[in-house]
Amino acid sequence: MPHERQSPSGFHGAFRQSMSWFHTWVGLLLGVVLYFIFVTGTTGYARLEITRWMTPELGKQTATASAISHSTAKMAEAAMAYGLENMPGSPVMYLTFPTPGREGTAPITIFAEPPVAAEGSETLEAFEGQLDPVTLQPVAAAEVRETGGGDTLYAMHYNLHYIPFESLTLFGFTLPAWPTLIVGIATMFMLIAIVTGIVVHKKIFADMFTFRPGKGQRSWLDAHNLSSVLALPFMVMITYSGLVMYTYDYMPTVKTIAYGVEPDARLVDCELYDYGCAQREATGETAQMVPLAPMIAATEARWPDAPIKWVDIFNAGDTAATVDVWPVFDGQIGANGHLSFDGVTGAEIPKAATVTDPVGATGDVLIALHEGLYAGPMLRWLYLATGAIGAAMVATGLVLWTVKRRQRLKGDQKADFGLEFVERTNVAIIVGLLIGIAAYFWANRLLPVGLEGRADWEVNAMFLTWGATFAHAAIRPARKAWTEQLVVASVAYLAIPVLNALTTDIHLGQTLFVAASERDLVLASFDLTMFVLGLALALMLQKVLRKSRLSESLMESAVTAKMQPAE
C-alpha cells in the first residue's frame, strides 16, 4: 500500500501511531458520553446520601434517631397490605426497606405491577407508594417533596434519562435497548481506548509520577496520563464489569444456543440472572397470604449480618403466590443470596443447585466491584475519588485535543471550524454538566413542594441548564466562556450550603455545629462536599484567569515590539 511514510515494516512500524490515532478520535467522538457516564455514575454512587439531602422533610438521622429499631417483619407486613389494597391482583410487587445504617428513616417503597389487562380494556398504571418506616402510615406528597433524588442521577449513567428504553429486533435477535446500546458501545470503545492508551505509552510507570505544570500542551498530556495511569486498575475494572453487567444483552446471539431464538423470559431470568426461579403461573383463585414475619425471620437466621432490603411478591393473593426475600450484603464483596417461600403455606421453596457455580460467583464479584455496595466509608470515598479522576481523564483528554491543535497554528493562522467547535463544546461539556447538576440540586430546593411532576422538573432543570451552557459557549469566545462558566459553577456549588440553610432546617448549623449526639454527618458531608467542589472550581477559575492575563500581556508586548520600529 503506497503511502509516504518511511518505516521499515510498513504499517507495522506505525503500530503505535495508528493506535494513537484511534485513541485520539474515539476519545474525541465519545468524550461527551464517557464524561457524562463518569460524572453521573460517580455522583450517583452517593445516591442514598443525596436522596436524604433531597428529602429534607425526613429530617436528620442522629444517633438517637438511628436507635429506632427497624422491625423488617412489621414493615413488610404493612407494605404488602398497602400494595394489595392499591393494586389487587398484581403479578409482581417489589417492597424496598430502608437499611438501618445508611438510610435510617427513609420511606419504605412499594412498586406493584398492574394485572395483565383483559382483552379490550386498558392496562392500569403501576402502583407506586411510600410508607413511613416508623409509623407505617402512607407518606403523603404534601409532607415530603417529590424528588428524583440520588437514584435518578445514578440511573442516568446507564439509562441516559430521556432516551426511550426500546430496542430493535434484527434477524430475530433483540438488540439491547437504545440507552444500553449507546452506553455499551461507549464502554467497549473505552476499554479499547484504555488498552491502546497503555500501548501508546512508553513509560507507563514513570507517568504515574510525572507532572510538569505550566507548560501548555505538555502539562495537559501529563495531566491526562496521570489521571488515567493513577486510576488505571479502577478504569479497567469499571469498564469491564460494566460490560459484564449487560453481557447477555450485548452478546444477544449466545443465549439462543440454550434457549432458542424466542426464549422464555422467565426461564432466562431464572437461569441467567438467578431471579424469580420460584415464581409460578397464577391460578386465578384467590387465597389468603400467610404472614411474612416467619419468612423474614428465616432469612435473617440464614444470614445474620445482612439486613433484609427487598421482598418481591409474585401473584400476591393468588393460590400460586410466592415470596422472595433478599438481604443486602453490605461489606461483603460478591456475597449474594435470597430465600424463596410459598406465599400461601409459608413453606420454603428450595432452589436449584446452579446458584453456587464459579461463573455466577465471578460475575457477582465483578458486578459487586462495579456497584461498590460492599465498600465501607473510607473505600466509598476512594470510589468517589477514582470516579472523579475518571471524569478528569476524559476532560483532560478533550482539552488536550484542542491545545495540541492550537499550538500547531503558525503565527496569525486562524483556527478552523473543527477546532473552534471542539474548544467551545468542551467548555459546555466539562463545566456545563457540573452547572447542570448544581441546577438539579437548586431545583430541589427552589421548586414549590407539591408541584405537578416535580421530580421530572428537577431533571428538566438540569438538562435545560446544561443546554443553556452550550448556547452560551456558542456565542462567547472560548476563553471567556471558560471563565464565565467557571464563575457560575463555583458560585452555584459554594452557595449550596447557604441555599440549604435558607430553605431547610437540615443545614450545617443543625447537622455539624451542634452537640455530638445531634450531628448528622451524612447530611453535613453533602453540604461540605458541595462547598469543596465549589472551591476546586474557583481554583480552576483562578488558573484560567491568570493564564489569560498572561497571554494578554504577552500579546501586548508583542504589539508594542512591532510598533517600536515604526516610531
Binding site: 500500500m1 503506497p2 503511502h3 509516504e4 511514510r5 518511511q6 518505516s7 515494516s9 510498513g10 504499517f11 507495522h12 512500524g13 506505525a14 503500530f15 503505535r16 501511531q17 495508528s18 493506535m19 490515532w21 484511534f22 478520535w25 474515539v26 467497549m188 470503545f189 476499554l191 479499547i192 488498552v195 491502546t196 500501548v199 469491564y240 460490560l243 459484564v244 453481557t247 447477555y248 450485548y250 452478546m251 446471539t253 449466545v254 443465549k255 439462543t256 444456543i257 440454550a258 434457549y259 431464572c270 437461569e271 441467567l272 446452579t354 457455580d357 461463573v359 455466577g360 465471578t362 460475575g363 500547531r408
Partner: protein, 111 residues
Amino acid sequence: MSEAVISSRRGRRATVTPAYRLEVASRSLAAVIGGFALASASAWMIAAGLLQSGLQPRGVAIGSGTLVSWIFWTCGAMWAFYAPTQLRAWSWLLIPAAVLGGIGVILGLEV
C-alpha cells in the same frame, strides 16, 4: 490534508495521506466489527462446547462464554492495529470468527 502532519516513530515528520486515513479507519472498523464477530463466535463456541460436554448446566455455560468473550474482543481489537497489513487484520479476525462460530453452531444444534 497536506497540512496535517504527524510525527513518525523515528521522529521524522510524515504527511498523512487520505489512503493512510482510510487504512486507520478500516482497522478501527476491524477492531470494532471484526472484534465483535470474534467475541460473539468465541462465546458461542465456548458455551456450546461446555453444554455439549455436560461440564456446566446451560445458564452457567452461557455465562462462561459471554464472560470470556470480552477478552477475545479486546485482543482482537489490538490485533486489528498490530497486523502488518489491512487484509491480514480483517482476515485473521473474520476467519477465526467463522471457524469458532461454525463449530459453535454445529455443537449448538445438537444440544
